[in-house]
C-alpha cells in the first residue's frame, strides 16, 4: 500500500496558504489576484508530480495523469471564503496531489492513474460550485456570461479575462474516464471532535432548501403611532421566526438544521417603525422527506401569518438542492482504510455542508471523507485541524484510493 509523505503534504498546504494569507487563515476568493496566482502555483506542483495540468475557462485546475491504468478523480477547491481558513477546500486538493505522488512512488501502485482537480468558485462568489457544475456539463456559456460577483456585481467574464483565462476552453467530464470521484474535506463542525473520532466517512451530503421572506408593513414614527394601528414589519418577522423555532423541532430529523443567518429591517433607525423586514431561512437534511415536511410547515406558517396580518409576507424559494447519497462501496473502502490506520476512531456521518462531491455525484459514483475541525470552527481564519489528523487522513485516503483502483 502507498505511503504518503506527511512532511511534503504539510509543506504544500503551508505554501499555498501564502497566497492571500490573512492572520492565521487565508482570504482568497475565486479569481482574486491571490487565487489566480495560487492556481498557477498548483499547476506547477501538479506538473512536478507528473500530472499534466490545465487551467480551464472557468478557472478549474485539472491535473491529468498520463498513465493508462484504472483512473479516479480526486479534488476539492482552493478558493476560500472571505478571511476564511487555510484548510477548507485546499486540503482535499493537496490530498489528491499527495495521493497521486504516493501511488507513483510505490511500484505496486505506480500504474494507477489519479487526476486531481481544484474546482472553481466552490464558495459561491460568482454563483456557487461553478467549476464542478461546468465540469459535469450543467452550465452553459450564457451562465458564465451572466455570472456576477455577489458583492460588487462585477462580471465573471471580466475577471476571467483579467486572469488570462478568457480564451481557455471549459473542460468537461468524458464518460467512462473515471471509476469514481473522491473528495476529502475538513468536517467544518464539531461532531468528530465531540465524539473523539478522527475520520468521518460521509453517508450523504444534505439537501438545502432556502427561502427569502419579505415582510411589508407601514413605516412610521415610533413615538406618535399608537400600538393598535401599527404595521410593524420587524414584529411580523420576529413572530414568524418564533413560530418556526417552535414548530420545526417536532418535524425535524435527528440531524436536521435550520438557520436564519441574514435578517434586516428598514429603514433601521431607533425611532422609526420598520416598514420592511427581510430574512433568509434555510434548512438542511440528508432525507428529502424531512425537507419536504419542514417546507410544508414553513409555508403553512407563512400563509397563516399573512392572513392574520397586519403585514403582508412574500415568500420566495431561493433554491432546493437535493440530498446526495454517497456510494456505499466507496464508503466501505474508506471505512476499511480508516480501521487500518485509526482503529475504532472513525464513524459514518452526513455532511451538513455542501461540497463539489454533490455535483460530481450526479455523473460519477462519489464519496467523501472528513477530518476533525478543532473546536468545530469553519469559514473563519482561526479554522484548523491537528497536523497529525491531516497526515492520518491523507494516508487513509491514499489506501482507499489504491484499494478502489485495484478492485475489479
Amino acid at each position: 500500500m502507498p505511503r504518503i509523505n506527511g512532511e511534503r503534504l504539510l509543506a504544500d498546504l503551508r505554501r499555498i496558504a501564502d497566497f492571500g494569507r490573512y492572520q492565521t487563515g487565508v482570504h482568497r476568493p475565486h479569481l482574486s489576484p491571490q487565487d489566480v496566482e495560487s492556481r498557477h502555483w498548483l499547476a506547477g506542483r501538479m506538473k512536478e508530480a507528473g500530472l499534466e495540468p490545465v487551467i480551464d475557462g472557468v478557472g478549474n485546475v485539472i491535473g491529468r495523469s498520463p498513465k493508462t491504468g484504472p483512473r479516479l478523480l480526486m479534488g476539492s477547491h482552493t478558493d476560500t471564503q472571505p478571511r476564511g481558513g487555510w484548510l477548507d477546500g485546499v486540503m482535499g486538493v493537496i490530498y489528491g496531489l499527495e495521493v497521486a505522488r504516493a501511488l507513483a512512488e510505490d511500484p505496486d501502485t505506480a500504474h494507477l492513474a489519479v487526476d486531481v482537480a481544484s474546482w472553481a468558485d466552490e464558495e459561491g462568489h460568482w454563483g456557487g460550485m461553478i467549476g464542478s457544475k461546468s465540469f459535469i456539463g450543467r452550465i452553459t456559456e450564457a451562465d458564465v456570461d451572466n455570472a456576477r460577483h455577489r458583492d460588487d456585481g462585477s462580471k465573471m467574464r471580466d475577471a476571467l479575462k483579467a486572469a488570462g483565462l478568457d480564451k481557455a476552453p471549459r473542460i468537461e467530464l468524458e464518460d467512462g474516464r473515471y471509476r469514481c470521484y473522491l473528495e476529502a474535506h475538513i468536517e467544518q463542525g464539531g461532531v468528530l471532535e465531540h465524539t473523539g473520532k478522527r475520520i468521518g466517512v460521509v453517508t450523504a451530503i444534505v439537501g438545502i432548501y432556502q427561502y427569502r421572506l419579505t415582510f411589508s408593513g407601514i413605516q412610521n414614527h415610533a413615538g406618535t403611532t399608537p400600538m393598535p394601528i401599527r404595521k410593524d414589519a420587524g414584529v411580523a418577522m420576529m413572530r414568524l421566526y418564533n413560530e418556526v423555532m417552535e414548530r420545526f423541532p417536532a418535524l425535524a430529523g435527528p440531524r436536521s438544521v435550520w438557520t436564519v443567518g441574514k435578517m434586516s429591517i428598514e429603514p433601521g433607525a431607533p425611532a422609526i417603525i420598520p416598514g420592511k423586514a427581510e430574512m433568509i431561512l434555510q434548512f438542511r437534511d440528508a432525507d428529502v422527506a424531512v425537507l419536504k415536511r419542514l417546507e410544508a410547515c414553513l409555508l403553512e406558517i407563512v400563509d397563516a401569518h399573512g392572513k392574520r396580518g397586519p403585514c403582508t409576507i412574500e415568500c420566495v424559494n431561493l433554491g432546493r438542492t437535493m440530498p446526495a447519497p454517497m456510494e456505499e462501496r466507496l464508503q466501505e473502502a474508506l471505512d476499511e482504510a480508516a480501521e487500518k490506520h485509526a482503529g475504532g476512531q472513525h464513524m459514518r456521518m452526513p455532511s451538513g455542508a455542501g461540497h463539489d462531491a454533490q455535483i460530481l455525484a450526479q455523473r460519477l459514483p462519489a464519496a467523501m471523507m472528513f477530518v476533525p475541525s478543532i473546536g468545530g470552527i469553519s469559514h473563519h481564519f482561526t479554522e484548523n485541524t491537528a497536523d497529525a489528523d491531516i497526515v492520518l487522513g491523507c494516508q487513509v485516503f491514499a489506501d482507499a484510493a489504491a484499494k478502489i483502483l485495484k478492485s475489479n
Copy 2:
C-alpha cells in the same frame, strides 16, 4: 383679535421648502448647505417682519422683537430628517413669524412682543436638540467641540466654520424675558385624523427610555453545527424580543408605545449562524411610573434570558428623557382659541414625539399645539397637512398668543 394671513403663511412655507427640496418633501439636515441658506432666508423674512434676527454659534436663528410689551417666545426647527417632510418643524417656525406679523398688524395687539426661534439640529444629526439645549444653557463649548455628525463622524465645529458661524456667540435665555414658550407642530401620527379632530392641545411630551441589547453567541457553519450545541445570537434576540412583545401590553398605559427600530445580526450570511446580534428597544410614555414599570420588566426579561443562555446579553441604557408636562394655563388658552375657530374639533393629547418644547419647558412655562398629519405620515417626504388645517392652526395659535400676552 389678530387675523393671520393664510396666503402669506402658505407662501412662506412653500418658499422655504425650496431649500433642499426632495420630491414632495425636503432634505435639509442641520448645517447642510441648503440648511444654512434657509437660515439666511429665514433671517431675511424675520427682518421684513420687523424682528431683529441673529444666527447664533450653533445655528439657532432667533428673531427678537424690538417692542417692549409683554413678550413670548415661539419657535420650532427648520432642519429636517434625511428626505423628510416639508412641514415637520418648519411649520412651527413660520407660525411664529406669521403670528408676529399678525399681532403687529392689529392695533389692538401691536404692542405685544413675540420672539421667533428656529432651533438648531432638532433632528439630531449632531446630537439632538442642540439648539434649544444651548439656549437654555444646558451645553458647553466643549459639547460643541465634541459634537460629531451621526453618519460620517465629521466635526460640528468644521460645519459651523463652513457656514461662517464659528465666530458667532451662542445666545442664551435671559431670565424674566418671556412669559412662556409656545410651539406648534404637525402631529406626526394619526390620532387627530382618526378621531376627526383638527387641533391637538398637548398635555405632555412623553419620556423616552432607550436600550441597546447585544447578544453574543458563537458564529458557526449553518450546515455542520447540530441544533443542540448552537449558540445562535439571532435566535436569542428573537426570543427576548418576543417576550417583550408578550409582556409589555399588560404593564403599559393606554398610550404607551415600544419599538425595535434597529436590529442586526453578524456576520449576516445565509449559511452562517450569527455570533452576534444587536437591537435597540425604546419605549415612551407621558407617565414616569409607566416607564419605570416597563424598564423593570425589560431588565427582568434580560436577566432571565441571560441566565438561561446559551447566549450572553449585554443591556445598555442609551438614555432616559423625562416626560415634560405642558403648562395647564397655556393649554386652556389653546383650548379656548381652538373652540372659537374649530368648535368641537380639538382635543387634548400627549406628544409621542420629542420636541424642543420639552427642553424649553425646563426653564419656561411651555405649551404645544398639533395640526393633523395626513395618513399619520411623518419623517418621510410624503408627509403633509391640509392647507386649511395649516391656516386654521396658525389662527388658533395667534389667538392663544394674544390671549396669553394680554392676560395679567
